[in-house]
Symmetry: none
Subunit: 524 residues, 2 copies
C-alpha cells in the first residue's frame, strides 16, 4: 500500500475536483504536465478524472498510461446507481476502462441526501456502497471510499453516517475518506467526530475538506493530528466555490510544523516550485500572499521588522524560507532603509560600502521618487536601472526618435501607435494597432526592437496594473503603472508614474526592455 | 467598555497593520471612507494609525475627529523605549496627540526579543509595559495591550510570557491581546495556551493572528471559542507577508456558525458589501473564492451540484447566501434577485411589476454585463441609464459626430483631444489639451457641451479609478473605469469597461453627463 514509508498519504485532486474551480480548464497536455510534476514531487495518489461523467477523461487515462510514474493514478466515480446491478452499471464500467491501480468511489453518508436527492431507501444506499466497493476489490483495485457530506451527515444522523463507513470497511475499502463537502465544519467538530469514528470503525481514515468557512487547511491538519492517514486536496486550493483544501499549505504544515513525513526525501524544498508551476499551467495568478510559497510570504516592509530579521531571522519569520524553496525579500520602500538599497547597489558595483555617499544618495533619490508616487515594491528592476543611471553604468541600447498614438472616432475599437527608433545609426519605423493605446505602443515598440535584438521575441508581459494615486483630481490625477515581464525563466517588475497613463505605461515598458537587455546582451 | 451588548468585540486594523500588505497604500480620503464603512458596519474598535512612526497619521487623526462615528478609534504605538521616562518618550507623546479614546500599546512577551532585538533586561521590559499602560490609564485612555509574539514567547519561556501579561493587567490594561505575530502557531496550541492564560491572568483576552500557515481564521475562531473576547484582524485579510486574520471570514463564522453576536443588529447582511467596498477603495482584486463573500462562494458549476441545490439548497450550501448579502449563482444559467433591479426600474416607470418581462430582461442584461466585467456597485447611475435605454425612455441630448485623441513624441507631457458634436442640428467642434488623454477628452467634451447646456459648468469629476480586470493579459487586458461626479449637491457614480482605457473612460464620462442631463434638463 505504501510508496515509501510515510506517515501521511497525500492524495491530489487538482485535476478532478480542482477543475471545478471557476475559470479553470485543462487541456490534455496540461494534465500530463501536472501529473509529471506531482509525481516527481512525491504525491502518493493522483485523482485524475471522472471517466463516467466526462468521456474525454478516458483519452487522458490512455495517454497517461504511457508515462512512467510512481504515484498511483486514481479514477473517480460514484457507487452503482439505485436498483442497478453493479457489474451492469455504466459508470462502473467506465471506471474500469480507465485502467488505474486505484479507484475512488463516492457515496452518500448523509441521510438527507439519500432520501431527498438520490431518493432511495437508507438500506439500498448502504448496499450500493457495499456492492461497489466489493466489486472493485474483486477486480483487483485499491479502493478509496469517499463518504460525501460525512460531517453534515454525522450531525444529522450519527448512526447512519457511521453505518455508511462500516459498509465500505466490511466490503474491503482501503481507505474511508470523510468529506466536508459543503465546507461548513469547524476544527473542533472535525476533532470530535474523527475521534468517534476511529473508535467505532476499523478502517484507514482520510479527510477531504472545502474552504467555505476558511477552515479547509486547519481542518485537514487537525484531522492528520487526530489520526487521519490520507489527506485530499488540490495544489493552491483550486476548486469549486471557495476552493478545496490547499495541499501546498497543508504539506508545509505537516512536514515543517508537525514533523509528519508525507513527501519523498528533500521534496519539501520543491514546495514553491510546484505551487508556481501548477499556477502557470492552470493560467491562474500565483497569489503573493500564499502561505509558505507566495512572493510576499517572507517579504518585510516595516523598518522595525527588517531590523529584527537582520538581527535574528526567527524574530519575524516562522521558518527559514529556504526550507520550502522560497526566499526572503526586503521591500524597497522609504521605511526599509539603507541596507536593502545597498544590496541592490552591490549587484552592480560590489565594492560600494554601506557608508558610501552613493548609498546615501540613492536613499535620497528613492525618497524623492516615492514622494512623487513611485513605489518599487515588485518593481525592483526599475530601481536597479535608476542605480545604474546614478552610478554612470548605463548603455544606450536604442534611442527613441519619435512616437505617436492615435485614437479615432466615437465608439473606438482600436488604437494605433507609430514608433521611430535608432540603433547604432540604423533607423527603424514601425506601426501597430492594439486593444488599447498601451497595447498598440507595446506591440510597435517590440516590433521595431526585435529587428535589432531578436532575443526580445521570447519576452512577454505577464501583468499590468494601474493605480490612480490622487483619485480626487479625477482625470487629471497621477497614475502609477506596474508591469511584470517574463522570458519564460525569470520574471521582473518595472514601474512608471505620470499624470498621463500612456506616458506612465511607456516608462514602465522601456524599463522592462532595458532591464532585459542589460541582463542578456550586456552580459555577453 | 461596550458599544452594545456583544459577546465578542471586533477590532479592525485594516488601516494600520493591513497597510503593511504589499501593494497597499491609502490616501487620507481612502482612510476616511474606510472608517465610515467600518463604523456603519458596527465594528467596535478601529485601529487607524501609528502616529509615532508615521507623522502623516496625525493629519488623519485630526480629520477623522470631525466625523461623527460610534466605533472607538485607536492609535497604535509601542511601550516607552528602554531607559526613557514614559512621560518624556516621543512615541508616547505622539500617541497622545492623536487624541483617541483608546490606545493600543505593543510590547515584548518573547524573552528572545527582549534580549536579542531591543537588547535590554527582562525586568526593564516588564517595567516598560507597566509604566506605559499605567500612564495611558492615568491620561484617561482605554488601553489595549498587544503582547507581540506571545505564542512564540510562551513556547520559549512560559513564565516570562505570562509575566508580561500580568504586568499589563496589574497596570490596568482593559485588554491583553495575544499576538501570533509570525503566524506559525497551530490551532491546538492556541487552545492550550489560551486556556492556560485564562486560568492564570485576570484580564480580558484578545487575539491577533497572521496567516503564514493558513491558520489565521481558524486560530481566531478557536480563540473566541476558548474565551477570547476581542478579535483583531483586517478586512479581506490584508496585511504583511501572508496577511492578517480575515475579519470578514471570522465574522461570518462567529455570527453564523457559532451564534456569537459581534455586530450591530442585521449588519451581517452587509458582510459582502463591506468586503467589496474596502477592496474597491484599496484597489485590490475582490477574490472570487473569498469565503462567504466571494463571487464564487455560492456558485455551482457541476450539474449534479446544481441539481442538488435545486432540490434542497442545504444539500450543497453550508448557509443561505442571503444571510451574508451574497447570492447563489449557477454558472451556466444565471438566476438572480430581481427585487433590487425592480426598484431601479420603478424609479423610471412605477407601474412595472416584479413578474413583468422587463424585470426579467434587465436581470439578464445585468448578468451579461457583470460577466463582461461591469460592476454597478457605486455606479448605479450607469445602470439607471441602461434601464432607460431598455425601456425606450431615452432622449438624445447630444450626438458625438467624431473625436480624436493624439499623443506625440517620446517624453510626452500632454495629450490632445478634438471633439465634434451636434445638438438640435447645430454643430460644435472643440479641442483641448490635458494632463493625459482622458483628461484632454473630458475637457474637450465639456467645453463643447457647455455651449448648449450651461448647467454643466458646475459639475466636476470627484473620483476616477481604474481597475485592470485580467492583469495576466497585460496591456491587452480589460479595464474598468469608475467615475464619480458631483454638482455640489448630489454625487453620482458611473462605469465603463473596455480593453481600451480611453474607451472605458469615455463611456463612463458620457454616462456621467447623460445622467446629469436627465436629472436637470429632463425634469424641467
Amino acid at each position: 500500500m505504501t510508496r515509501d514509508v510515510k506517515e501521511i498519504f497525500i492524495y491530489d485532486t487538482t485535476l478532478r475536483d480542482g477543475s471545478q474551480g471557476e475559470g479553470i480548464s485543462y487541456t490534455l497536455e496540461d494534465k500530463l504536465k501536472i501529473v509529471k510534476k506531482l509525481d516527481s514531487f512525491g504525491v502518493d495518489y493522483i485523482e485524475a478524472g471522472n471517466p463516467g461523467s466526462n468521456p474525454k477523461d478516458l483519452d487522458f487515462f490512455k495517454e497517461v498510461a504511457k508515462c512512467d510514474i510512481k504515484s498511483k493514478l486514481v479514477a473517480f466515480g460514484s457507487t452503482r446507481r439505485v436498483g442497478v446491478k453493479v457489474e451492469e452499471d455504466m459508470g462502473i464500467k467506465s471506471l474500469l476502462f480507465a485502467n488505474t491501480p486505484a479507484v475512488a468511489i463516492f457515496g452518500k453518508s448523509w441521510d438527507l441526501h439519500v432520501t431527498d436527492i438520490i431518493r432511495t431507501t437508507l438500506d439500498e444506499n448502504l448496499s450500493m456502497i457495499e456492492d461497489t466497493v466489493k466489486y472493485m476489490k474483486s477486480m483487483g483495485k485499491e479502493v478509496i471510499f469517499d463518504a460525501e457530506h460525512f460531517f453534515d451527515g454525522y450531525k444529522n444522523n450519527r448512526e447512519y453516517a457511521i453505518e455508511s463507513l462500516k459498509s465500505a470497511a466490511k466490503a474491503g475499502a482501503d481507505f474511508a475518506v470523510l468529506c466536508d463537502t459543503n465546507g461548513g465544519t469547524m476544527p473542533w467538530e472535525i476533532e470530535n467526530i474523527i475521534n468517534d469514528v476511529l473508535q467505532n470503525v476499523n478502517v484507514n481514515i482520510g479527510i477531504h475538506c472545502h474552504n467555505d468557512t476558511g477552515m479547509a487547511v486547519a481542518n485537514s491538519v487537525v484531522a492528520a493530528k487526530c489520526g487521519a492517514v490520507q489527506i485530499q486536496g488540490t495544489i493552491n486550493g483550486y476548486g469549486e466555490r471557495c476552493g478545496n483544501a490547499n495541499l501546498i499549505t497543508i504539506i508545509g504544515n505537516l512536514e515543517v510544523k508537525l514533523g509528519k513525513k508525507c513527501l519523498d526525501n528533500n521534496s519539501i524544498s520543491e514546495l514553491t516550485n510546484v505551487s508556481k508551476t501548477v499556477a502557470e499551467i492552470a493560467n491562474m495568478t500565483h497569489e503573493k500572499s500564499y502561505p509558505y510559497v507566495g512572493a510576499s510570504a517572507f517579504a518585510h516592509k516595516g523598518g522595525m521588522h527588517i531590523d529584527g530579521v537582520n538581527k535574528n531571522s526567527i524574530s519575524f519569520e516562522h521558518i527559514n524560507p529556504e526550507i520550502v524553496g522560497n526566499e526572503r525579500r526586503f521591500l524597497m520602500s522609504e521605511v526599509s532603509g539603507k541596507s536593502t538599497i545597498l544590496s541592490s547597489i552591490q549587484k552592480i558595483i560590489p565594492e560600494i560600502k554601506k557608508d558610501s555617499k552613493e548609498a546615501q544618495e540613492m536613499v535620497d533619490i528613492l525618497k524623492k521618487l516615492e514622494y512623487e508616487g513611485y513605489q518599487f515594491e515588485g518593481a525592483e528592476s526599475s530601481f536597479e536601472l535608476l542605480i545604474r543611471k546614478h552610478l554612470g553604468k548605463t548603455k544606450e541600447f536604442f534611442k527613441v526618435i519619435d512616437f505617436r498614438v492615435i485614437e479615432e472616432a466615437a465608439g473606438i475599437k482600436s488604437a494605433y501607435a507609430m514608433i521611430k527608433l535608432e540603433v547604432d545609426g540604423k533607423e527603424e519605423i514601425t506601426a501597430a494597432d492594439g486593444a488599447g493605446p498601451v497595447n498598440a505602443m507595446d506591440k510597435a515598440l517590440r516590433k521595431a526592437l526585435t529587428v535589432f535584438y531578436p532575443e526580445l521575441k521570447d519576452i512577454r508581459l505577464t501583468d499590468y496594473k494601474v493605480r490612480v494615486l490622487d483619485p480626487d483630481k479625477a482625470t487629471g490625477a497621477k497614475v502609477r503603472v506596474h508591469i511584470e515581464t517574463s522570458d519564460g525563466e525569470a520574471t521582473w517588475g518595472t514601474v512608471g508614474v505620470s499624470t498621463n497613463i500612456i506616458e506612465a505605461s511607456w516608462k514602465a515598458l522601456l524599463d522592462s526592455i532595458d532591464y532585459f537587455l542589460y541582463k542578456e546582451i550586456d552580459r555577453k
